[in-house]
Amino acid sequence: MTSFLTDLFSNFWVSLAGKLLIVALMIPLVGMVIGFAEMKLSAKMQARVGPYFAGGRWGWAQLIADGVKFFQKEDLIPAEADRPVFKLAPVLVLVSTVALLVVIPFGPDLIFRDLSVGVFFALAISSLSTIGILMAGWSSANKYSLMGGLRAAGQLIAYELPLVLAVVGAVILAETMSMAGIVEAQVSAGYPFVIFQFVGFAVFMIAALAELTRIPFDMPIAESELVMGYLTEYSGFRFLFFFLAEFANMFTLSAIAVTLFLGGWWLPGIPDDVLAYAGPLILVAKTFLLVFIMIWFRWTFPRFREDQLQSLAWKVLVPLALANIAITAVFKVVLG
């Protein structure tokens, strides 16, 4: 049986189909799990219970129920909206998230595609969502959406720079841009890069929060001001796409951070053959730790004002990241 499966999956097309299927399933699953975690954690922080009825006492079916609810809603498109752009925008945002999953190493040999420029690919693809958000804000034919979209454009472009610069330090230490290679470098070095790259890690996490437009950086949505910002006119399954994309993006950006800084699927002291199976679990556990921190921040902090946000990016994060690169490079050359 196993030899039959191995032969089957050695066929390129079959394995491609299998990989696509797994990726397609992962996104909603991850989205739902993290969404549920957010509901329950926020409830605990706010002296509430959270989802309680759907699925018995723990309410685990809440998000499934929400998903079904979104699907059966009427597809409302504002009369004045730019229809093709309006319909394409959520797809673009979701696609950029899905594409990120391709380069994350889940285990020693478990990666959908190990690109030699994995880091570069990941950062480039994640910035596609900026265009999607701008399209959403523009095409909604609504002043609030437009303002949200423009705010998003300014914010996301501003925070791309710290995001990219922050990872350069890890790349220098690993001497490769391939994601699997960076994890291998941490394994062979014996320590996760965060020990020396803590500045880079902090900058990356802050920039990731801003890329996700989560509080404290959710000016583009800014519920109490702009109703829902660029998302105002979206309802039904289009809104579900954005919703899922946000949670899945939390996962993927955290997974990238774990890969680059926290050692990926590796834990010291675990033998290699166990790691082949336990690797994905370790990666997911570390990722969820970072996701928990993101959720925690969201419910604790208020949001930055747009100009404060921009000055944080340009005046604080970019110089920090540049300094980090310079120091890392010097140390790498000196210490070899």
């Binding site: 926020s42 922080m45 706010q46 002296a47 509430r48 004045e80 034919a141 609504n142 002043k143 437009l146 303002m147 705010r151 509080i215 404290p216 959710d218 000016m219 800014a222 519920e223 109490s224 001001e225 109703v227 419910w299 604790t300 902090f301 208020p302 949001r303 930055f304 004002r305 747009e306 100009d307 404060q308």
Partner: protein, 396 residues
């Protein structure tokens, strides 16, 4: 940022009702909006993120109280009046009843005055807790909402236990307060007093409120983002505030230590020892901080009042049908939102000839065009929230 001509024309055709300028955009904030405390509409001309010429449009909730008051008798007006500032229900009734009592020249028994004072201070705590809940929400922090409202439930439960209503107590009667259990058929001859255990529970609740307020303070006051969003934002100089009629915590945050509880005699505040918190700069942060300190002072007053409450009747002897003699008077009180006053003109009938209601929020938000000049849009929300108004108070 200047928007393109064609884009602007496209937007004007696709949006509803508002005329568009060629260079900047007219943005309608409200009347349906998460942050406007009710149906308030702000018509703002914005240039990018900066707004100038913000005109509030009010009157969506105008209920015509002053006209209605002319066809009601005094006990009936009490029910009308506590719907003006519905967040602090009880505090609206007191100056009105005091005005009627002034014209009747009757003396309210001491116990009734103490009860009125305790309930007014509880209304103040309730109103300020709503502010503590909603203001961080407008800045983006959703969590203090739950903590503050949970504490407010304690106060509202107590209010309901005494008066029967959480928001609209309708508890004052001319000459005092309503005997707590009323008079049904079996207890017709008996005048009831406050519910048993009310005072002890109030004392207990006040302790818990103090703890909770400290918690909220540490959650909010130490947060750098909140400080960055509120310090230096929406500075209101005291001269401007006075000339516009801004009163209450908004005026005190600008540095003017003026509290009507210290200078007016509608309730026996002179018997109690409390401070009047005063801010320094008149920005949003000071308005937050003054209200937080006021909650603590209110707790202090309530505890002193509970300790010192005298026994006695709850209501003075008044005739069956009340006809207030001819006269005019203006009684004003320190409501949680500011100065609330009633100018009562009576002609000897069962109802007033003219009742002018001076509501605090009306004057407080008349300052919006001045204070929102040249301000960024997120700051509009921050400033409006810090003024703490309620549309029922604005529109009457």
């Amino acid at each position: 940022m200047v928007l393109d001509q064609d884009l602007v024309r496209h937007l004007s055709e696709s949006s509803v009702s508002v005329e568009l300028e060629t260079e900047d955009m007219t943005l309608n904030i409200g009347p349906q909006h998460p942050s406007t405390h009710g149906v308030l509409r702000l018509v703002a001309r914005v240039d990018g993120e900066r707004a100038f010429d913000v005109q509030p449009v009010i009157g969506y909730m105008h209920r015509g109280y002053e006209k209605l008051a002319e066809v009601r008798s005094y006990p009936q007006i009490t029910t009308l009046v506590n719907r003006i500032d519905w967040v602090s229900g009880y505090a609206n009734e007191v100056p009105f009843i005091v005005a009627a009592e002034k014209l009747l020249e009757i003396e309210v028994p001491e116990r009734a005055q103490y009860i009125r004072l305790i309930l007014t201070e509880m209304a103040r705590i309730s109103s300020h807790l709503v502010f503590m809940a909603s203001y961080p929400l407008e800045l983006g922090a959703p969590t203090p909402l739950f903590f503050a409202l949970r504490e407010r439930e304690r106060v509202l439960d107590l209010l309901e236990g005494v008066t029967g209503g959480r928001f609209h107590p309708n508890f004052n009667r001319i000459g005092g307060v309503k005997p707590a259990y009323g008079s049904g058929s079996s207890t017709r001859k008996v005048i009831q007093d406050l519910p048993a255990g009310f005072l002890a529970e109030t004392r207990d609740a006040m302790d818990k409120v103090t703890v909770a307020v400290d918690e909220i303070n540490s959650l909010v006051a130490g947060n750098e983002i909140i400080l960055a969003r509120t310090k230096g934002v929406g500075v209101l100089p005291p001269e401007v505030a006075a000339s516009y009629g801004v009163s209450g915590p908004n005026l005190r945050a600008s540095g003017v230590g003026f509290d009507l509880r210290k200078v007016e005699d509608y309730l026996p505040y002179h018997l109690f020892d409390f401070e009047v918190p005063v801010g320094e700069n008149g920005d949003c942060w000071d308005r937050w901080h003054v209200r937080l300190l006021e909650i603590r002072q209110s707790v202090r007053i309530i505890q002193q009042a509970i300790d010192g409450i005298p026994s006695g009747p709850l209501q003075a002897k008044v005739p069956k049908v009340i006809k207030v003699p001819k006269g005019e008077t203006y009684v004003r009180a320190e409501n949680p939102k500011g100065e609330m006053g009633y100018y009562l003109v009576s002609n000897g009938a069962q109802g007033p000839y003219r009742l002018k209601i001076r509501s605090a929020s009306f004057s407080n938000i008349s300052i919006l065009p001045w204070i929102l000049e040249g301000v960024l849009i997120p700051d509009i929300i921050a400033i409006m929230g810090s003024l703490d108004f309620v549309l029922g108070d604005v529109d009457r």
